[in-house]
Symmetry: C2
Subunit: 218 residues, 2 copies
DNA sequence: CCTACCGATCGGTAGG
DNA sequence: CCTACCGATCGGTAGG
């Protein structure tokens, strides 16, 4: 991190200016949501800058708190990361296992899975999975272990769909490597996809499915 | 980063113990290579822990220097990152454009490209490309701009091979998206491939090609 | 390239 | 949840 050489001395603590406006009308039940606010703000910041480059002060500021206050809700910064990643995987699993329940034909099932995954991977407000993918290293070993079970369920869904595609003659191979290649190609989109670009998620899902399975014949 | 609460006070600077052995016999021309040593050590550390989680002290220690000495070779930590990434791309381009020069048939050309890319992406001692991929965010805007030209040449090679595959009837689509999906699937291997695992790079290249193009018919 | 050091920042805490 | 603060660490530098 770059250090900024500011010439002006820091004003003495007593006279430091407090933020001008802090418009917070506490509604009942609002308190309970502060934790969720922190998780969402942290997710966005982690996704944009990475875990290490995001300070607890950044997170506090993003939700209108003072620098020490996130520690009222979380013991450590690492616990915030864990919450982000767990919440993301839980939401992702919901959407993903929901697709399996629909009992679609293989190609349509694959398309629905891809589309659902693109949503949580790339769409506005869904920052959890990118954080999981790109700040995995920042999780402690213990916290990684807590998450592996969820990740395994995720992989199992994709593996099953890949197997069905092979059985339907739509893919050449259905090994774990095949699953890793498909998911890798999609997950890597988080590095190049621009939310403000011309390519929407629907079109992206269509073209991705066509690439892997070939265009639909009619 | 976790803070370790060490009870013992830091010994006063005067009496601090210096590393026991520092076996350095300076050969002529050795001096010139110290910069390269730093770049290689930094690449490995950046790949393992990420740019932000690696300190200049870590890098110095890895090459047997004292904490301030890397700044004799580089002005800033950011400059070390830039050197890592530039060196990696240059080496990658060499290998990659070399494949194009061989004028192989499409399937073989693709295989050679994949195999060459796996080498610099996953093999021992090649940490540059993973750093490029996963610490891209840590580069300043200016430094990213310096690299884009190299990255574009890289992409152009893959785009051309993808086009040849389509023309040969081995791929359904040859759009930029097709290139991004293929490269994404491969680049994402850096997150899951284990150098000490059972899957070697040759087998991985074979199976990857088979997945995308279908097994060879005979 | 080392010694000795600085200023800034950061995660975290005590007490209210 | 804020105030006020601490200890540690970190990038970087002056001078040799």
């Amino acid at each position: 991190m770059q250090q900024k050489r500011i010439d002006r001395r820091r004003p003495p603590a007593r006279t430091r200016i407090r933020p001008a406006v802090r418009p917070r009308v506490r509604v009942a039940g609002d308190e309970a949501n502060r934790r969720g606010d922190i998780v969402r703000a942290a997710a966005r910041l982690f996704r944009e800058r990475g875990f290490d480059a995001t300070t607890v002060r950044d997170i506090a500021k993003a939700v209108g708190m003072r620098s020490g206050s996130p520690f009222y809700h979380f013991e450590t910064k690492q616990d915030i990361l864990l919450a982000v990643v767990e919440e993301g995987l839980a939401a992702g699993l919901d959407a993903t296992e929901g697709v399996l329940a629909e009992r679609l034909p293989p190609r349509e099932k694959f398309h629905a899975l891809v589309r659902a995954h693109l949503e949580i991977l790339l769409d506005e407000g869904h920052d959890f999975i990118p954080v999981l993918l790109y700040d995995w290293r920042s999780l402690t070993r213990e916290n990684r272990a807590k998450i592996v079970a969820l990740k395994d369920r995720y992989d199992a869904v994709w593996q099953q769909v890949v197997r069905e595609l092979k059985r339907a003659g739509l893919l050449h191979i259905d090994s774990p490597l095949a699953r890793l290649l498909v998911l890798g190609a999609i997950n890597f989109m988080a590095t190049w996809y621009r939310r403000d670009g011309a390519l929407g998620l629907d079109a992206l899902a269509d073209q991705t499915v066509d690439f892997f399975l070939g265009p639909t014949k009619r």
